[in-house]
């Protein structure tokens, strides 16, 4: 009987698992996605594309890349993998802007920064997204999907939360899909990054 109960429990847990994913849904699928594990080093991917002098200054990088991501001056870095072609990323854009505003408001801007990398997007396409949604943080292009491939071919939008270590950035959290509450998201980021 005990075995039966445990069996039912296991079956129900298996059935429940997709529901848990469904809650985190609302993302564009990336076949073959293998997100990088929390606790592992984030690859030192190149950041490509021109950024404004102000944003370059804020991140401590040159305006024109490619710049290795580890050069970014930040204690904690949120990296959004997005695409201008992804309807979920488009829908998520106002929430991410709100997240950036919250970071400023809470006086965390010097320590916690956000960047976006447009998977499969050229500079022109990244620029269309930037202008359309008035994105206040730096967006970089990844026309060849090279960065997308290096970071696990994730679905979009995908958020990696990275913490600076002497060796570079390490992944402390990850999130697939829309950010429904920028405040809750920020709370989780600061908790998991120990800010």
């Amino acid at each position: 009987m005990k075995a039966l109960a445990l069996g039912i429990l296991a079956a129900l847990l298996l059935l429940a698992a997709p529901n848990r994913h469904a809650l985190a849904a609302e993302a564009s699928e990336a076949p073959g996605a293998k997100p990088l594990a929390v606790g592992t080093a984030f690859p030192d991917v190149p950041l490509i594309g021109p950024v404004s002098p102000e944003l370059a200054d804020n991140l401590g990088i040159p305006q024109n890349g490619p710049t290795p991501i580890a050069k970014i001056k930040a204690e904690v870095l949120i990296v959004e993998i997005f695409s201008m072609y992804c309807p979920f990323c488009q829908r998520d854009a106002p929430a991410v802007n709100e997240l950036a505003a919250l970071i400023d408001k809470q006086g965390l801007a010097g320590r916690l920064k956000i960047i976006g990398i447009g998977a499969g997007n050229s500079d022109t396409e990244v620029d269309i997204f930037r202008k359309k949604f008035k994105v206040p943080f730096a967006l970089f292009s990844d026309a060849t999907f090279a960065v997308h491939s290096a970071v696990g071919q994730v679905g979009t939008p995908y958020y990696y939360v990275l913490k600076k270590t002497p060796q570079g950035f390490t992944i402390v959290a990850a999130h697939l899909g829309l950010i429904h509450s920028p405040a809750d998201f920020l709370k989780d980021v600061t908790a998991k990054a120990g800010l």
Partner: protein, 205 residues
């Protein structure tokens, strides 16, 4: 009996799981909007012989749209430059991303006095359902279903299996084709070269 005493605990665990929607999940699998997208194997990049060239007149067309109207070449002549985006098939991976991208590029089209028309060889009900799932589009979507691929054939972009190439055409206000990109069907074209061509045609006045 033991089962019945265990059940409340099972229910409690399930309820906890169902309610647990952490803002930061540890890398869940992509569940996908794409549940309805048909996965297509890698195809030969192109499979047709282009029948027009830059400088050729755009063949005439008069096609039904998903909103019940029609699009005709004559609607644009003398009024707007026209971009025609052919995508191979509804409900396939690359195509399902391409037009949602164009959806946020409306300003770039308008700045260059361009209209955009999306066309596939699918029938209207299929295109209706598919574009609705995208959340709607600002530009008309027309069907080149019957006679099957009629316009695609005039342009020389109908593949042997009955779908069209993934192709972009820019037609100026005089009806002359000014830019053609018959793209590798497996890959989404970069909008950059099209926008450059649009700006060049617009600058001519």
């Amino acid at each position: 009996m033991r089962l019945f005493t265990t059940l409340p605990a099972v229910v409690a665990v399930l309820a906890a799981l169902a309610l647990a929607a952490p803002a930061l999940a540890d890398a869940p699998l992509p569940p996908g909007l794409a549940a309805n997208i048909f996965q297509v194997p890698h195809l030969p990049p192109t499979d047709s012989q282009l029948a027009v060239a830059v400088g050729s007149p755009m063949p005439d067309f008069d096609l039904p749209t998903v909103t019940g109207g029609r699009v005709r070449l004559a609607d644009y002549l003398g009024k707007k430059n026209l971009v025609i985006s052919f995508v191979p098939a509804a409900w396939t991976p690359v195509c399902s991303g391409q037009w949602p991208g164009y959806n946020i590029a409306q300003d770039a089209f308008e700045e260059n006095d361009d209209a955009l028309v999306g066309i596939t060889v699918d029938n209207i009900p299929t295109l209706y359902a598919w574009t609705r799932q995208m959340g709607g589009l600002w530009f008309p979507v027309a069907s080149d279903f019957w006679p099957h691929g009629g316009l695609a054939q005039k342009l020389g972009i109908l593949r042997r299996d009955g779908v069209s190439e993934r192709a972009l055409f820019l037609v100026d206000k005089k009806g002359v084709i000014r830019f053609i990109d018959v793209h590798d069907i497996n890959v989404r074209p970069d909008l950059g070269p099209l926008l450059e061509a649009m700006a060049k045609v617009h600058a001519e006045k």
